[in-house]
């Protein structure tokens, strides 16, 4: 155990405030996790416990689980890097809940299935389909954990940036330059491994089972940690509108509005006109790369013809992925069952939209402030790039107000820890649960005793945590927000069509649902894999992308074709296999849609118990 604390000997240059705030957040989260875990031991305890909780706490808990490292750090970093286009991320992250509310939340809650695999089995009476649905919990989960790991690596690299590991017993940990020379600071991969190990251990030992109270407190920690530093920074350096006023749109020579002071931009930063206007660097990257390979005389014509239409396509595909993906995230849907009834479920959803909507106003402010006040981040790569703007920006206050800068930076670090810890442990619990319960308990060894399953849960937690750390260590160059976007695209092409069609179309058959979900979901997964492997340099696709900018856009943002593909496959295959529509489909539809007061659910369960021995 004492080996774990060896690094403390090298903490000489670490800001005590930042370290203290971060450490307290981690310790309190773990402590609360174990404290709550002793109170509710089983999954059903967890769900029932939620029912004694008010709408306010429930909404806070859902929001707390939802706001991940992508929301807390990623949006600010990406707004700073790419400007206006990135605003679609916070807007769609929040507005996806509207689709969930309008089409899915109510019926799914009435059906009484706790997870999407439960729903898949109940709706189609097919244990086989359950197994197919479980696979996507794992696919989406792994893609979603990578950005959380990048958040962890970035935060620790920031906190321990002045640590000097060279020459000590931990010299092997020190990051190395391209020429193999040891550098000062804390390596990215070690941060990923440390945080991954702590959370995995915590989950394996039974703490942090996504308890309502812990998640609810995490929301308020994150809200406090993002809003207070923003207000202090704006009071000192100029408000949101003034910060944007300092950036000229195209055709403007001066802005007739409040303007904040700014530092000169560095070479790598996008120009003002591209940054503040729609169809900027994010959505035109593919076409720009393609144009760069053409002879200079053709470049302008090529850009004029392709740039704007392609970036409009990119924007729409991004919107579809985020809005529909939110409505298909497995670890969020589960939380709707902690409501006592349909009315409370709807009220909770509305409060969630308000809580996260208020939150999402702040990260872009950090991005705009960062662009004007800390442009040197544009030159950094990986963990030293714009993704750390939320953590580092408050230290600017240090020059005027001394220790206040460190305190506020400590607060944002604490918020970052709350963000990736809550989401990573939530994902780890749902993935481990899916593996231990469905893959092991139902497929590999159906005769397993509860003790064996519990042991398997612990083994699975460690194995899945280790895989997540290995994956996370590979993705330092990718933006946090972009990776989360990929997870949403997979959810939008698999679970969203499944839920939407199953709830509203009685003609769906098991074969149709399975073919559609696998077709759309696997296409999106293949696209994600291709993009990530290409962008981290494992496969050299740069020349292919330059020759085919449209292919790059459709693979980077696949939702615009994979989501309709999934729905098309579902309809076509269901029509072809119409004979196998479940016989009691009318009753199932009634349970999904009739108000709970009519008592149909109870009737349905009794029939099933009497009729089939379920």
């Amino acid at each position: 155990m004492s080996n774990l604390f060896l690094p403390l000997a090298f903490l000489g240059g670490v800001d005590p405030w930042i370290f203290a705030f971060s450490f307290v957040t981690v310790a309190v989260t773990i402590g609360m996790g174990f404290w709550s875990a002793t109170k509710s031991k089983t999954a059903s305890d967890f769900f029932v416990a939620g029912r004694s909780v008010s709408v306010g706490w429930n909404a806070s808990a859902i929001s707390g689980e939802y706001l991940s490292a992508a929301s807390f750090m990623g949006i600010a970093g990406m707004v700073m890097a790419s400007g206006y286009d990135v605003l679609w991320y916070p807007v769609c992250y929040a507005c996806g809940y509207l689709f969930l509310l309008l089409f899915i939340a109510g019926p799914l809650r009435r059906f009484g299935a706790y997870t999407i695999p439960d729903f898949a089995e109940g709706r189609y009476d097919s244990p086989l389909f359950r197994k197919i649905a479980v696979c996507f919990v794992l696919f989406i989960g792994f893609v979603y954990t990578m950005p959380q790991m990048k958040g962890a690596g970035t935060t620790l690299a920031y906190i321990f940036k002045s640590v000097n590991l060279r020459g000590g017993p931990l010299a092997f940990l020190a990051p190395h330059s391209a020429t193999g020379e040891a550098l000062a600071g804390f390596p990215y991969w070690a941060g990923v491994a440390l945080v991954g190990a702590v959370i995995t251990l915590n989950v394996a030992l039974g703490g942090m089972k996504g308890i309502t109270l812990v998640q609810a407190v995490q929301y308020w920690v994150k809200m406090f940690a993002i809003s207070v530093p923003v207000f202090v920074l704006m009071a000192v350096f100029g408000f949101y509108n003034g910060q944007l006023g300092a950036n000229m749109a195209s055709g403007e020579s001066s802005v007739p509005a409040p303007m904040a002071e700014r530092k000169p931009l560095v070479e790598k930063a996008p120009a003002d006109t591209a940054w503040i206007a729609p169809f900027g660097p994010l959505t035109t990257k593919a076409v720009k790369a393609a144009a760069a390979t053409l002879p200079a005389s053709e470049q302008k014509k090529f850009l004029d013809e392709h740039q704007k239409p392609y970036s409009l396509l990119y924007t729409y595909s991004l919107i579809i992925a985020l809005v529909c993906g939110t409505a298909g995230l497995p670890h969020i849907l589960v939380r709707f069952y902690t409501n006592p009834d349909g009315v409370a479920a709807k009220r909770t959803t509305m409060w969630v939209m308000i809580l996260i909507g208020v939150f999402y106003v702040f990260p872009p402010v950090f991005g705009a402030l960062g662009r004007n006040l800390m442009p040197e981040l544009y030159s950094g790569v990986g963990a030293k790039g714009t993704d750390k703007v939320v953590l580092e920006l408050p230290t600017l206050l240090g020059a005027k107000f001394g220790v206040l800068g460190s305190i506020l930076s400590g607060i944002t670090c604490a918020g970052a820890f709350a963000a990736f810890m809550s989401t990573f442990s939530g994902l780890l619990v749902s993935m481990t649960g899916a593996f231990a319960h469905d893959v092991y308990g139902r497929m590999l060894k159906p005769t397993a005793t509860p003790a064996e399953r519990l042991r398997m849960f612990k083994i699975a937690a460690v194995v899945i945590g280790a895989i997540a750390v290995l994956l996370g260590a590979q993705v330092e160059q990718l933006q946090i927000n972009f990776m989360v976007n990929q997870a949403f695209a997979i959810a939008a092409s698999s679970y969203f069509p499944l839920l939407f069609m199953s709830v509203w179309w009685r003609g769906m058959t098991m074969t149709g649902a399975a073919v559609g979900m696998l077709g759309g979901g696997l296409c999106a997964l293949a696209c994600t894999g291709t993009i990530i492997l290409g962008d981290i340099g494992k496969v050299d696709l740069a020349s292919f992308w330059a020759a085919h900018p449209l292919a790059r856009i459709l693979i980077e943002q696949p939702a615009i074709w994979t989501m309709p593909l999934a729905i098309f496959l579902m309809i076509a295959v269901s029509k072809a296999t119409a004979a196998s529509v479940p016989a009691d489909i009318r009753m199932k539809m009634l349970v999904l849609h009739a108000p709970e007061q009519l008592g149909l659910k109870q009737e349905y369960i009794q029939e099933h118990a009497a009729g089939t021995g379920h």
Binding site: V91, L244, F279, T315, A583, R586, H593
Partner: protein, 105 residues
């Protein structure tokens, strides 16, 4: 798999086909009209940016118009839609329960 369960005897109006159809149609109608309002704005904004870039870049107290809409005003807009939907859907369910209970009597 066990044999399919025969549908329960249609002693009650709520098990009838027309009841289910009207139930689903009314709820879907409400959901679709709320979704349509939302989608027109969500999908229309990129089109406005595309065809009227100069207008959308007008400064409103420092913000460009399009940044103000997307970065700030969009959130309250969605809250209004969801508030309206919840109010209507709860009223709808109450009506359904009431009408079924009247017919049962």
């Amino acid at each position: 798999m066990s044999a399919p369960i025969p549908p329960p005897s249609p002693s009650d109006e709520i098990h009838s086909e027309p009841f289910l159809r009207s139930l689903m149609r009314r709820q879907l109608c409400l959901s679709v009209s709320c979704a349509a309002t939302f989608l027109v704005v969500l999908l229309g904004l990129p089109l406005l940016n595309y065809f009227f870039p100069a207008f959308m870049a007008t400064r409103v107290a420092g913000f460009t118009l399009t940044w103000l809409i997307l970065g700030v005003l969009f959130f309250p807009f969605v809250w209004v839609i969801s508030f309206f939907f919840i109010k209507r859907s709860i009223a709808l369910e109450d009506e359904e329960v009431k009408s079924v209970n009247q017919n049962r009597r």
